[in-house]
Symmetry: C2
Amino acid sequence: MISAPIQKRMKIIDKPEAMQTAARTLKRDGKRIGFVPTMGYLHDGHLSLMRIAREQCDVLVTSIFVNPTQFGPSEDFNEYPRDPDHDRQMCKKVGVDIIFYPTPPEMYARDHTVYVVEDYLSSGLCGETRPIHFRGVLTVVAKLFNVVQPDLAVFGQKDAQQFRLIQQMARDLNFPIEIIAGPIVREKDGLAMSTRNQYLSPQEREDAVQINRALQRAEDLFDRKERWAEVYRRELEVVIHKAATARIDYIEIVAVQNFQPVSRIEEPTLVAIAVFFEKARLIDNTVLRP
Amino acid sequence: MISAPIQKRMKIIDKPEAMQTAARTLKRDGKRIGFVPTMGYLHDGHLSLMRIAREQCDVLVTSIFVNPTQFGPSEDFNEYPRDPDHDRQMCKKVGVDIIFYPTPPEMYARDHTVYVVEDYLSSGLCGETRPIHFRGVLTVVAKLFNVVQPDLAVFGQKDAQQFRLIQQMARDLNFPIEIIAGPIVREKDGLAMSTRNQYLSPQEREDAVQINRALQRAEDLFDRKERWAEVYRRELEVVIHKAATARIDYIEIVAVQNFQPVSRIEEPTLVAIAVFFEKARLIDNTVLRP
């Protein structure tokens, strides 16, 4: 007898307590929960993370929440694009079981005062340009972990410093959760997929490809056995300066383990770039492994 | 047919991962886990908290861990008394099922960098005298929550500010855990039970009773309809000054809700006292409810 596949319905849950109740039931049934937190406006980069979680778990949960505490006062919290219908369609494509979709008042009490902080790995790179950013990220991820109670969570390697920090938080606060990095997904011309690519003018969109070209230059240098970080910094700057609309925030060469700058590439090393355009700040990176 | 009660053996677990595995199995079996974290050297105050958890849960877990991150550099981390055999006997008395008993290297990696912080409720009272104390407390309690995964946790009302902060952390970080306060347990003469009472000389031990007498004075004033906080402060100071060996750290009259000082007692109000002796710093409190 051939049984038809059971048509599962994708659930949308907006209350943290309801999500916790659902998670508790799933865990009591011995289900393995995979989780991909997002800020919505989903693209193929997000879907690739969901597919990784999907493969390794019984139940796939994603969250869509534009988290106010990770945006600085002059940043794009209000303009950050939102499209619930599009997001639901994208989630269906990869077989999401539950979308956790809270509003800010459901996630933050008016007298919220508790934060998760990290002062060492988070001080350089994006942490320097965005001082409260990682406090907000770690706090909301800790909250989401406690709400969704996943066994496994997948984060994009594009946000390399964020990934490293979440990995550290999971270890240091003993979250019983496996943290996995999903590879960077790129447009055909090499630009890393990002919700913020929407902000680019046509000229900026064309220029933005220089970020990936700079990372390719880093990989070429590495293949040619160049090991001095200073050479990388100099050469990558030249590549990015070909984009007239771009202003470099940073080009950093740091150890993957501790995010401290290295002068020579002798252990797994992150080459990370952040570039400002008029309305967008884009980041990208590659890891060199001697 | 009468079946004999099954003789349960108390388990001692020293590795966080092993505790997490045990917790996962218990939760899969639908067991409700009650938790009382301690720093060991257990007294009847601790046992009363364990009895509260015992009544409301299927499985009672306690942790014994003298947490280094909540002691300041000049505080008593090294001298804090430890007595594993005594503690095991005490735990057996109240039917503890699992003692989680890690060592500092099992709880803190050498490159531990992630902390849980609170800057509002924690700034006054004990937070003023012990600047890093509550960061350490919240961090270790968050860790222990993730290791033990309890449904319910019981903390002593003696540490009123700590209780309020843990309650806030559980809410703000969405821990799916019910946080319960256990009433203060006192010696026959009224001194609040505390591991640090061990540090008192005979004269100091006699003097220490003035702390509770001051709180009784507060309750008398309240019964006599006194509502001005300043009157309480002045009168309580007089009571404590009868103890020649005592030096007042603080006498605070604060709202229970936000721990901010009040000038009049018109909502649930905490009267909290901290007193230094030569080697001990003791705290005690009472709540006045108009």
